[in-house]
């Protein structure tokens, strides 16, 4: 009995990418439906800049499709996609002009009237102030919904290290948001 595409596993869908055009298209669409929001969230929050994030997002899926190979046994498709996205994002960051120093940005952040902003705006701005190693762990955990073991695999670090980084990232975000969060916990 024929199955719908959303009933196939990631591994099966990946193999279908190498089949006839129609099957490949349907399989790619299903993979895209499953993981596009995670990949976009990663690019968007890791790079901060919308245009760069869009470019990285598009390129991720195009490269992913081009990499399809019958020989490759795909065991962790979201991890594979995020690895492509991460490499692209790092390239974008490397090629960027040097922006505002972190301390200056932090001051700019506090000059704003934080009370008038939504917590989410503050978090996204706080993310921009984090070092890459903390920011990406936070994004992979909170936005891409990955386990520490999966994050460790993508970043090529130990799970314990991934956990520590995630904790420190949250500590740093909390420090940056402390005036807002103090109000929140008082209420």
């Amino acid at each position: 009995m024929a199955k719908y595409y959303d009933e196939y596993s990631d591994t099966e869908l990946y193999k279908m990418l190498c089949e006839d055009r129609r099957t490949a298209e349907q399989a790619f669409t299903e993979i895209f439906n499953r993981y596009s929001s995670r990949i976009y969230a990663y690019c968007r929050r890791f790079l901060g800049d919308r245009e760069e994030a869009l470019d990285a997002f598009q390129e991720t899926f195009i490269r992913f499709h081009q990499s399809a190979s019958k020989e490759r046994e795909m065991t962790n498709l979201p991890g594979f996609l995020l690895t492509i996205a991460r490499n692209l994002c790092l390239n974008y960051k490397r090629d960027r002009k040097i922006g505002v120093p972190v301390e200056e940005a932090r001051n700019l952040f506090y000059q704003d009237n934080y009370e008038s902003k939504e917590l989410l705006d503050l978090i996204t701005r706080a993310l921009d102030l984090l070092e890459d190693e903390y920011r990406e762990v936070f994004i992979l955990k909170e936005y891409a919904g990955m386990q520490y073991s999966e994050i460790a695999e993508i970043l090529n670090i130990s799970p314990a290290n991934a956990k520590t980084r995630a904790f420190r990232a949250k500590q740093k975000i909390k420090e940056i948001l402390s005036p807002y969060l103090k109000d929140l916990t008082r209420n």
């Binding site: 959303d6 298209e25 499953r34 976009y40 969230a41 917590l119 955990k141 936005y143 904790f167 420090e175």
Partner: protein, 384 residues
């Protein structure tokens, strides 16, 4: 923030070992700072979850990817939430497979028997063309071609089931008109004659007292019977503004037939077969062009019914029941919720009237759509 609060974050991440949970709860119970930490962490987590800007890639960007790969552009990107919702529904249905399979196979057998009693000429035309609108079966990727309008018959032929009377002197329709006299439990269908009035009382469904018409030897013992047969007409309104008139290629459309088993005074189960319309509005791509389809085809829906009658809502003159049904037709799943009243009219037979909300879920090109309608169902319940 101190390291001791790390267990709060591990707990919220779902990665705290169960053995450490008591440690966390003890900490929260005694430490105000820990509770504040928990509140802050939850607020951050919730805020991230609501970050729709980050989670929804612009459609323009999606289209660029598909164009670059030479694929046709998808109609929309399924939201993560809706995927998980349907995945949950699918998992639940899988768990219920054996029960549903039993129900559906029984329903098919029942429906097959009933179909033998019905006119057969249009029985397979469950999706038909109406007006000049193109009709699609959403389950099929290749669109069906428009079909020619069916020829309108000049003369409408009505068919009745007539059963022979025990008294041969009685002037029944059957005896007067020399039509086939029925003495078996499987009534034949015959054409009526002009002088129907004399035998009106012996005709089905004009007279619901069918037990008087059937030979006594084939009737089960009424005292022990828990099985009943329901015939209903359906009057529904779609939730969409209907721009295409309903297809008319199905005889006895908007009617439903059920076999109900009274499990207890409160619970009843049954199988239902309905001939009905669902107004469908859905999207799809053909040759890189997005189309919005609208059609109003006929469906044959089979479903499993569960019915619950509240004890305190039973009266001398009837009872109120709630009903849920789940089933399917050739394009998707159908679910119904309803409330109804049962009013006895003769012995154990009763009139029924109910209000139903029906939803049909179906998909086209990997995307799910739904059609819903609500309305009245009215008919008779005949205890066998």
């Amino acid at each position: 923030m101190e390291e001791k609060y790390q267990i709060i974050y591990e707990y919220l991440d779902g990665e705290l070992p169960p053995v450490q949970e008591s440690e966390l709860f003890a900490l929260l119970a005694t430490d105000q700072e820990a509770r504040n930490e928990m509140k802050s962490a939850l607020a951050i987590k919730e805020a991230v979850r609501s970050d729709s800007v980050a989670f929804v890639p612009p459609i323009k960007s999606t289209n660029k990817i598909f164009s670059a790969l030479g694929f046709s552009e998808p109609s929309a990107i399924a939201a993560t939430a809706s995927i998980s919702k349907f995945a949950a529904l699918k998992n639940w249905l899988l768990l219920q497979t054996k029960y549903i399979a039993t129900g559906i196979s029984s329903a098919i057998v029942t429906a097959a028997i009933m179909l033998m009693l019905l006119p057969k000429e249009n029985a397979n035309d469950s999706i038909s063309n109406v007006s000049s609108t193109k009709i699609y079966n959403p389950k099929e990727t290749i669109a069906q071609q428009p079909q020619p309008m069916p020829e309108i018959k000049e003369k409408v032929v009505y068919k009745y089931i007539v059963v022979e009377q025990k008294n041969p002197d009685s002037k029944s329709v059957a005896s007067n008109d020399q039509v086939i006299k029925l003495s078996s439990s499987f009534p034949e269908i015959i054409k009526p004659q002009n002088n129907l009035n004399a035998g009106r009382a012996q005709m089905f469904p004009m007279n619901i007292n069918i037990t008087n018409l059937l030979p006594e030897e084939i009737l089960p013992d009424k005292q022990d019977s828990k099985i009943s047969f329901e015939i209903k007409g359906l009057s529904y309104a779609s939730d969409f503004e209907e721009k295409v008139r309903p297809a008319e290629k199905q005889s006895l459309n908007n009617s439903s037939f059920s076999v109900i088993y009274d499990y207890s005074n409160e619970f009843a189960f049954g199988l239902n077969y309905s001939r009905e319309n669902f107004y469908q509005k859905f999207e799809g791509y053909e040759n890189n062009q997005l189309y919005q389809y609208e059609q109003n085809p006929n469906f044959e829906t089979f479903s499993l019914i569960g019915r619950y009658s509240l004890e305190f809502l039973k009266f001398d003159y009837g009872k109120i029941y709630t009903q849920a049904a789940i089933g399917g037709n050739k394009v998707g799943f159908v679910g119904r919720l309803g409330i109804g009243a049962e009013i006895p009219i003769f012995k154990e037979h009763s009139l029924q009237v109910g209000y139903d909300i029906s939803n049909m879920y179906y998909r086209h090109q990997s995307k799910w759509f739904s059609s819903s309608k609500k309305g009245l169902a009215f008919g008779v319940k005949l205890k066998l």
